[in-house]
Amino acid sequence: MDFSRYGIRKEEFEAASSVLGREPNECELRILGVMWSEHCSYKSTKRLLRLFPNKGPKVVLGPGENAGIVDLGDGIGAAFKAESHNHPSAVAPYQGAATGVGGIIRDILALGARPVASMDGLFFGDPGHPRTAALSSGIVRGVGDYGNAVGVPTVGGKTVYDPAYNDNPLLNAFCLGFVKLDRIVSSQTARPGQAVILLGSKTGRDGIAGAAFASVELSDDSKESRPSIQIGDPFAEKMLIEACLELQEKELIVSMQDMGAAGITSSSSEIAAKSGVGMTLHFDRVPLREKDMEPWEIALSESQERMLLIAEHGKVDEIMSIAEKWELDCAVIGETFEGDGYSILFNGEEVASLPPSLICDGCPQIHWPSKLPVDLEKRRELELDDLPLPDDWNEALDALLTLPSLAPKQWIYDQYDSMVQVNTVKGPGHPVSVLRVKGRDSLVAMVFDADPWKCYLDPFRGGAETVARTARALAVAGAEPLGLTDCLNFPSPEVPEQYWVLEECVKGMAACCEAIGCPVVSGNVSLYNESPEGAILPTPVVGTVGIIPSFREYLPSGNWDEGDVLFMVGPCNTSLAGSRYLRSRNLPLSGRPLEFWGEAEKDFIQRALRTARSGAASSGRAIAGGGLAAALVKDSAESGKGAAVSLGIPTRKDVVLFGEGGARALYSVPMGKVPLFKVIWNGYPCIVLGRVGGSSLEVEDAFGFTVEELGKKWRIR
């Protein structure tokens, strides 16, 4: 039996044969080939993911379900998750991105939550590379067209440009939904003797074996791998959302699962395995779009906009009439029974029979060898003495502000409906995105961030910094971080040096999560992001969600008032390693990022929360990409106010102004609140930078621009 054709390794074939007591047949092998791909089975990364803390007082549902849920109070939860759709977006940017957005929305829906906000993480190649323009515009259009039509606002995101993504652009999609905590739908609640129902679009040959495809490197002929292109139908998705929420509201279903990778097979076998029931599926009852589909094609089709429901037989008629109202196909395709069996029938014949536990949990894990990259020390060499200060600081700042990774992303987010559903208090363009919860005082804040450059130079510190950045931004806005989701985008784990980087990144992220008490509640892994041209940078992307108890306790950014005192809190000895500034001077990616200091992060968050909640500041911004200089410019431009700033610090001025890393923030504080502010930050590094006022932003012995000029350079709307 040539199992390798189906992406099955020898030990996997043997494991399956030994459980079955026979060799799997072809259809079964195809099913296992997809279900045991990295994308579905996490066979190389399960062990690593266990390093993440996943419990906390606010965690209602941790990893393992379709998405995580954190408690927002008043019986409401926020369900959220991020998912990658990298390979499909590289091959067919528009459709790949669109179906990525659609897929993550269904994950949220599967819990019975109404999807209320999306964010997107985009990683594009060098803007000068011939393919980048088409890839980036296709991906942005795909995200927008799908999200806009389905009516889920895209409220924020992250965009990074680097030549490492020339052939492997990344598209990570995040979605958040609101759910009543006593109405959460689970995939673990099916019982024997219930109906298995397929709701949504008809099944065609779309994206067959797409998950397996996502688990291999892109080769030149992968563009030819024909059936792997799924088409997104946001109209059908909108109908599906309304239908599923109506079914849930009327308590007609006992369990639900979205159909993502590996379609019917993964959704049904996961429900069976998690609920501990057996399942029989009749494939001749599946509504098909194409003629003559083979059973294995039906099993693995990734046709979009479908959900699998489990319901009592007595509710089927009512479910059918709701499906009819929303103009969706709906069919009972099987039933559950007692036992660990999973059997697919086609025209009366059994074509596959596998225990669900084997499909979902039977894949032998892989422990790839890990090895320190030999060039790591070299990457970290950055001699400041060899790096002259800029001759012209204004020019240096201009270069920084026009660096594509830092420049305003208006061209992207103007294409996204960020306001539909009328909950958006702060949409894209702000350090954190903020939603209101209708009928309540509290606000939900969220942020999506990544720092691949730092991860490349020091994966542990970079991983920790990535998590920390999200938490700092939330805390400054007044939002207590409740939990996070992540997408681990990495190249092949089969290269020992690359596996080491992955491992270290995860350890760094986990260390920060521990330190600040912010658990990981969901996530996704995307490996093999490399092509013959090269590998991507290590790119863990983090989406963190926090709560602001009342809108009065939200602290905005870009809100300086005349006469305010500007403070910088946090250490001055940050680092230029992997900074936007180095990139803007076309210097190689080098240096060693700041050491991660968990205590300080925790301390910072507490003080920042107090600052926001006590009204001690009029504006606040965590210092991140582009350092203090970028923070000053953004705040000044958005406030439409100037300031006179003097640094008065012995550290090198480029490091102070452009250095990145560490728990730092820029605050503007009304005169009368200065004493309170100082009390809050007593015991934490805190210096006065200057005063707000005048018509230009002047940094002593460095740069100076009029507010009008800044308005042209930095415009968020």
């Binding site: 067919a92 059936p227 088409i231 997104g232 109209f235």
Partner: protein
Amino acid sequence: MVHHVHVFIQLKDGVLDIQGKAVAHSLLSLGHSSLQSVKVGKYIQLWIESETAASAKEQASAMCDDLLVNGIIEQFRIEVEGE
């Protein structure tokens, strides 16, 4: 001379036609019950300066490959007037 070239673009077989599906549904509910199925594609007209119709067709075909057609999901057919 200027040739008038007609390009007909349609989705490849098997590729989900989301517009066709919705249009068919709508036409049926408007009472057009004899309708069996619908496919929605693009009709692009090009006016190309070239010596011969054959070369106009060739150029149109290159334009399809370069921009007009997404070869992953679409196929096309070209007609040149007076060819």
